[in-house]
Symmetry: C2
Subunit: 294 residues, 2 copies
């Protein structure tokens, strides 16, 4: 700060990675549902997860924050505590930003800059027919938590609340995959498996088949709801979805995070879900619009 | 686009420059005063001007745009025409961004990334006692235009309207000064001369004296207003303010833009305005808060 721009030096032979994410009140969070600290944490986690999805090393964050005039100072302090706590955890600095007044609710635009050795960042477009499809962690937990917030205004058990309010971007996993040259394509699961897998398919010009029984489902799903539905279409898990060449050995755990093979890339540009009887049905992208807060 | 992050390669031996600027309806512009095309142009011009102020070469822009649901498509199209037209003029690409809905009015967060050879970017902190102080162009035109908008809802003459609605960031001037190693400190005049000169003073640990008669004032000031007051305290001119070592020859025009010597850096940490009789009075920072739209 103190100058008109932030000055950032990359390591020699590296490229810059840049991602921007808007986080808006009543669209991405509600003040009555989300603690301010969680809002601050989550809006930086979104950007860090984008860096992770390309195998990058995060360097710096920029926070532009517009607040209604009546926002309590305590809310802002807690927001910053969540934001800066996560920044510290990943060793990045808050290199700049802006503040302003906005009558329509809290609006935070977060920029994260990272780097990767030139030519090594993992793209969405590298998947080829025959590649295996993997995900990290367990899926659907965030959607189950959002369902609970909407129905009851709170999340249980405490472990599920912690996972939802304070997601941990998979930066170490992404960087490990990049260093080993293991992933042919990668994306983060921010919009939901069905939507994000469709993005990989579009960018790579391929299709996929996912085996229903192999999808690692988050355990805590409220009574009367489908863990499969949450895992397929729920967003905001911030896990990684990647592909690797057939026969390439991929460990069951990377940087302490479980890695699960869930399917295979197809030449035919359609995405299928296969049940335990071997029956296929089309898996259509039904991501975040299905699970939005608004 | 198409990936989780934008990938940007810097030239070998260069550092990245990054700036973010929020532009908010009813704070930075009003829809009844500012044509949509001008809003798009101006929100990118702010970022380009920050790159110019460090002598940088702009590379890419990112636009995060939040819009009320009822925003007419024509407004958005014109906004983008202004934004992309200026981007094209400076040879930079729109490398990413985000869109969202925002009930409280249009909110645009613009990131501009640029580069400069490592160690050569011009900072605010390099001014030394005895340095000469220069500005580009003419000052106060934007404040005079804003005054007219407030009083009469339009700007005259057409040349003043054009200069206010479509400011031209001084990228070529900044880069020229950086290549020649001429400027010891630099800032862009976004908040107003009195405020921006105070920033140079604070960062460099110095003061300054400005000669009233030497300040290049924009000619078109409405009847009953003071061109001097507008030139001293009006923001949004997007000219450059820089210092150069005493005796260093500085041309009267750089890249087709007039350059005027207006004063000198002092050891004493105060900023003075000297009138034509040699009388000094304190020049206090009375920048943008004085000329804001809200």
């Amino acid at each position: 700060m103190g100058d008109d721009c932030a000055l950032l030096r990359l390591s020699a032979g590296h490229e810059a990675l840049l991602t921007t994410d808007f986080t808006l009140e009543n669209i991405h969070f509600r003040r009555e549902w989300h603690p301010a600290k969680a809002v601050g944490h989550r809006c930086l986690a979104r950007g860090l997860s984008d860096i992770a999805a390309m195998g990058g090393e995060p360097l710096a964050a920029f926070l532009s924050l517009a607040l209604p005039a009546e926002t309590p100072q305590r809310w802002v302090d807690e927001f910053l505590r969540g934001f800066l706590g996560l920044a510290r955890k990943f060793g990045i600095r808050l290199a700049g930003g802006d503040t302003a007044e906005c009558a329509g609710g809290v609006a935070a635009d977060v920029v994260v800059m990272g780097q990767a050795p030139a030519g090594t960042a993992i793209r969405r477009r590298g998947a080829r027919p025959g590649d295996s499809i993997y995900v990290t962690g367990w899926l659907g937990g965030a959607a189950a938590a959002l369902y609970q917030l909407r129905e009851r205004g709170r999340v249980e058990p405490a472990s599920a609340a912690r996972a939802y309010f304070y997601p941990q971007p998979r930066v170490a996993v992404g960087a490990w995959l990049r260093r080993r040259g293991l992933a042919s394509a990668m994306i983060d699961l921010s919009d939901g498996l069905s939507t994000d897998l469709a993005h990989i398919g579009e960018e790579s010009g391929v299709g996929a088949v996912v085996s229903e029984s192999s999808i690692p489902r988050a355990s805590s799903s409220p009574a009367g709801t489908s863990t499969l539905h949450f895992a397929l279409h729920g967003g905001e898990d911030y896990e990684l979805l990647f592909t690797a060449r057939r026969g390439q050995p991929v460990p069951r755990s990377v940087a302490g995070v479980r890695v699960t093979r869930i399917g295979e890339i197809l030449r035919e540009k359609k995405v299928w879900l296969m049940d335990s009887h071997g029956q296929r049905k089309a898996l259509l992208p039904r991501g975040w619009e299905h699970f939005s807060i608004g």
